[in-house]
């Protein structure tokens, strides 16, 4: 398994783990009662505003740890640049993720149209974010594994 494949597997794991842990920690704070109260919107705004830096910092730390541990275990130097194949794979993975995000965004809007409370829309958006990243990483892993 190449270093890119190992790195992608780690990204898949962190794409699931980081938002899940954060959601488990934060969601109990969702205000009960009126589903349309301003506090509910404030909660979700804060939820996403904090989630973004949490994900960024956690990913940086995980990447650094991975580089150190992988380097010790495999003694394989991590490439310090992206070549044409990496860039092509990156582009295809991003495209795949964008399609999933587009579908999820429509799903979130449909939830509003169908009369579900705003929290459902925000949960669909959160799931969409996780799903699109997962799909993107799976595309990346498949392309590194199988070639194209």
């Amino acid at each position: 398994m190449s270093i890119q494949e190992r790195r992608t597997l780690l990204s898949i794991a962190s794409a699931i783990a980081i938002p899940t842990v954060y959601a488990v920690y934060s969601l109990p704070g969702l205000p009960a009662g009126d589903a349309y109260a301003p506090e509910v919107f404030r909660f979700w705004g804060q939820f996403f505003l904090v989630l973004i830096p949490v994900v960024i910092v956690a990913k940086i730390l995980i990447t650094i740890l991975f580089s150190i541990i992988d380097g010790i275990l495999t003694r394989e130097a991590e490439p310090d640049f992206e070549d044409e194949r990496d860039k092509l794979i990156e582009q295809r993975a991003l495209n795949g993720g964008q399609y999933v995000f587009g579908l999820g965004f429509m799903g979130a809007m449909l939830a509003l149209v169908a009369g579900y409370p705003p929290s459902v829309m925000f949960i669909v958006l959160l799931a969409t974010g996780i799903g699109s990243e997962l799909f993107s990483e799976l595309v990346r892993f498949t392309l590194y594994r199988r070639g194209f």
Partner: protein, 73 residues
């Protein structure tokens, strides 16, 4: 009808060049070793520019390194 494929002789050419390692070739043509592995195994078709760089690394014309096989065999 078989799909046309592009075969390559990189493995053979590396052998003929003092068993040049994949890493050495990768450094010569400025790509990662994984990309050379993928090209050798026909899992990735390089851009024309990279194909030329690989051919020049071996001092051979492009057609000696990459062979367009219309029969797909």
């Amino acid at each position: 009808m078989s799909k046309p494929t592009i075969r390559n002789t990189i493995r053979k050419l590396r052998f003929e060049h003092d068993e040049m390692t994949q890493q050495a070739l990768a450094e010569k043509v400025s790509v990662t070793r994984q990309t050379i592995v993928a090209i050798e195994n026909a899992k990735y078709y390089p851009t024309l520019e990279l194909a030329f760089r690989i051919a020049r690394a071996f001092g051979r014309p492009l057609e000696d390194v990459f062979i367009y096989d219309e029969t797909g065999q």
